[in-house]
């Protein structure tokens, strides 16, 4: 897997590169601002880009805009965005055109190396990775919704993991249940929320995220 990193903080940039190289992943370029990042992507044509949200030149959301631009130029590129804090607007911008090959994680998740590598591979393989914090915020904000109340506690757990982008196997491992049980829960959730059932993880994520996003917008 060939990777380009865009992160302006040198310690973190080198730390990330060190971590990934130690896992035998191929870090082909590390960059510290949006412009250099886009250039590196054009030059190396990597499989995955790992991008920090706040970067020079303007130190606002340059990373998100660079990620969207890189995707426009290279539709097959997988992008994993790292952010110091959860911002709904960033997630909304990023997932505006579907969630395939996209991820949005808090920076501190990188410390949990296995889960981080898992998310990285998932994104590279065409899936989605959404930070649990984003999902939790969406769920909290949508509290007043009657339909969510119809879900059982276990179904809410499954919904949250589904929204993070996990596939059925991963969900069953996390919750320590059989895949068949997960499948049943998911069917039940889709029925209760009036969503069209879809087995493909990436489309499922965006459906769930859009659903929660719409609710939170109406609810607040």
């Amino acid at each position: 897997m060939r990777i380009v990193i865009a992160e302006d903080e040198p310690l973190l940039r080198e730390g990330l590169a060190l971590l990934l190289r130690a896992e035998s992943l191929d870090v082909v370029a590390t960059t510290s601002n949006a412009e250099d990042f886009l250039e590196a992507v054009d030059k190396h044509d990597p499989d995955v880009a790992i991008v920090d949200v706040r970067m020079p030149p303007t130190n606002t959301d340059d990373g998100i805009r660079a990620a969207v631009e890189a995707r426009r130029r290279h539709p097959a590129l997988a992008v994993l965005v790292l952010s110091a804090y959860v911002e709904q607007a960033f997630a909304t911008d990023l997932f505006a055109h579907g969630g395939s090959r996209l991820g949005y994680l808090l920076k501190e998740r990188v410390g949990r190396v296995e889960e981080f590598l898992d998310a990285l591979h998932r994104v590279a393989d065409g899936g989605t990775a959404v930070d649990p914090e984003v999902v939790a915020q969406l769920l909290v904000r949508t509290r007043p919704d009657k339909r969510l109340d119809r879900l059982t506690a276990r179904e809410r757990d499954v919904l949250a993991l589904m929204a993070e982008g996990l596939g059925n196997t991963a969900i069953s491992e996390r919750l320590v249940v059989t895949e068949g049980a997960v499948h049943k829960h998911i069917r039940s959730i889709f029925a209760k929320l009036d969503l069209a059932p879809d087995d493909r993880a990436d489309r499922r994520v965006t459906a769930v995220l859009h659903y929660l996003n719409d609710l939170s917008r109406r609810g607040t």
């Binding site: 903080e9 130690a22 110091a84 920076k107 410390g111």
Partner: protein, 416 residues
């Protein structure tokens, strides 16, 4: 402490300083007097045109020109003493404008300043020039033709040494007269403006409220800017370094199974990153409110700044009581920014910080002997200090002619 002690030991030097300051004021007053003369001509022409029945449309423009000149004089006077607030804008219609009390007072002030200000300003220029001319006379009288060898007071022509020295003595006497006369002349020159230019009592309060509203908004702005600065330094600095620590610890745990030596190396990096984060956090905490300011005193805090400044810096502090913490912090950061600027840009070898309390204001004056040319507009740190000071209803003045010296004066109401 410094200024007062100098004044007690060498009263002559303090007087000389006062005279030099007076020359500066008189020269600045001469500038506004010339402008006032121009405005006076404009007003007289307009009046004559009105008598001829054709000038009415010129009245608002003429009054606005008078206002521009009067505002310059207000700014000048505010610099040397109690602040004079600008009045409401001149009413648009000629009739309403002529009924406006502020406009009427300005029209009364105009001829006074145009004549008195001009004469006193010329006096301020002539006295020093003629004293220099006379005192140095023995040095060059032989070099010029006899007919030109006059004293500036009109004696002469001079043909011999005793005469030349007499003129030199006359020059010394002129200096004595100038030292006594010029400060009084400066006060006299300011007098018409001090009497006639402040807004009347009826408008004073309303203007004060308008100004307070503006400075209050500026205070909120400064507060927001300050929060943003803290957020930036926490986010870009400390938080990112802690994330790096976390990543490195994660990597070390993974490496532990593969190769303990590699894990050890990564852990040592992680520790270095943690130490870096702590140092940065200390800096952020300090920049919010320096602990020494609350635990000790402002002079102590400034002494700490001076010690850290690469340019040789003396602190002359004459403070017995404390002010509100926010006021002291504002002055502290003004001095800190000024010293940073001096160290970075001025090329100075010495700097002096004078700190004193004048009635209910805390004043700091930072002087350096560098190359000058500092600018508080633009994106410099000084503009941030200006906002912060003005937000506390204080004044900020920067004098930095090319070639130096640079003097930054800050004064903030103590709020106690």
């Amino acid at each position: 402490m410094f200024g007062e002690r100098v004044g007690a030991v060498w009263p002559g030097r303090a007087r000389g300083g006062a005279a030099l300051q007076a020359i500066g004021r008189l020269a600045a007053g001469l500038g506004t007097a010339v402008l006032a003369g121009g405005a006076l001509v404009l007003v007289l022409v307009t009046a004559a045109a009105c008598l001829a029945g054709v000038g009415l449309f010129l009245v608002p423009a003429a009054l606005r020109a008078v206002r521009v000149v009067a505002d310059r004089e207000r700014t000048r006077l505010s610099r040397y003493g109690q602040e004079i607030l600008d009045p409401e804008p001149v009413p648009a219609s000629a009739r309403a404008a002529l009924r406006d009390p502020a406009v009427r007072r300005e029209l009364a002030w105009l001829p006074c300043h145009a004549i008195l200000g001009l004469l006193l300003g010329l006096l301020a220029l002539t006295l020093p020039l003629s004293s220099v001319h006379d005192v140095s006379f023995p040095l060059w009288w032989k070099l010029v033709p006899v007919s030109a060898g006059n004293s500036s007071l009109g004696f002469g022509p001079v043909h011999n040494w005793p005469g030349a020295f007499a003129i030199c003595l006359a020059g010394v006497a002129t200096i004595g007269v100038a030292v006594v006369l010029l400060p009084a002349a400066a006060r006299l020159q300011a007098w018409p403006g001090r009497r006639l230019l402040p807004p009347g009592h009826e408008t004073d309060l309303a203007l004060r409220i308008a100004e307070l509203t503006a400075t209050r908004a500026a205070a909120l702005d400064a507060h927001t800017a300050e929060l943003r600065r803290i957020e930036r330094s926490l986010h870009d600095g400390t938080q990112n370094r802690m994330v790096a620590v976390n990543v490195l610890v994660g990597a070390a745990r993974r490496a532990l199974a593969r190769d303990p030596a590699e894990a050890e190396e990564i852990l040592s990096r992680a520790q270095a990153a943690a130490e870096y984060a702590l140092a940065e956090l200390r800096g952020v905490v300090r920049s919010i409110l320096p602990p020494v300011l609350t635990e000790r005193s402002l002079p102590d805090a400034l002494t700490g700044l001076a010690a850290a400044c690469p340019v040789d810096c003396r602190i002359n502090a004459d403070l017995t009581e404390r002010c509100a913490v926010s006021v002291e912090a504002t002055v502290y950061y003004a001095v800190a920014e000024a010293l940073t600027n001096i160290a970075k840009h001025s090329g100075a070898s010495h700097a002096t910080v004078r700190l004193r309390r004048q009635q209910d204001r805390l004043c700091a004056e930072i002087t350096d002997d560098g190359g000058g040319g500092a600018d508080s507009r633009g994106g410099s740190g000084l503009s941030g200090i200006r906002r912060r000071v003005e937000a506390h209803d204080g004044t900020f003045e920067l004098s930095s002619p090319a070639g130096g010296p640079t003097v930054l004066s800050v004064s903030v109401p103590c709020g106690s």
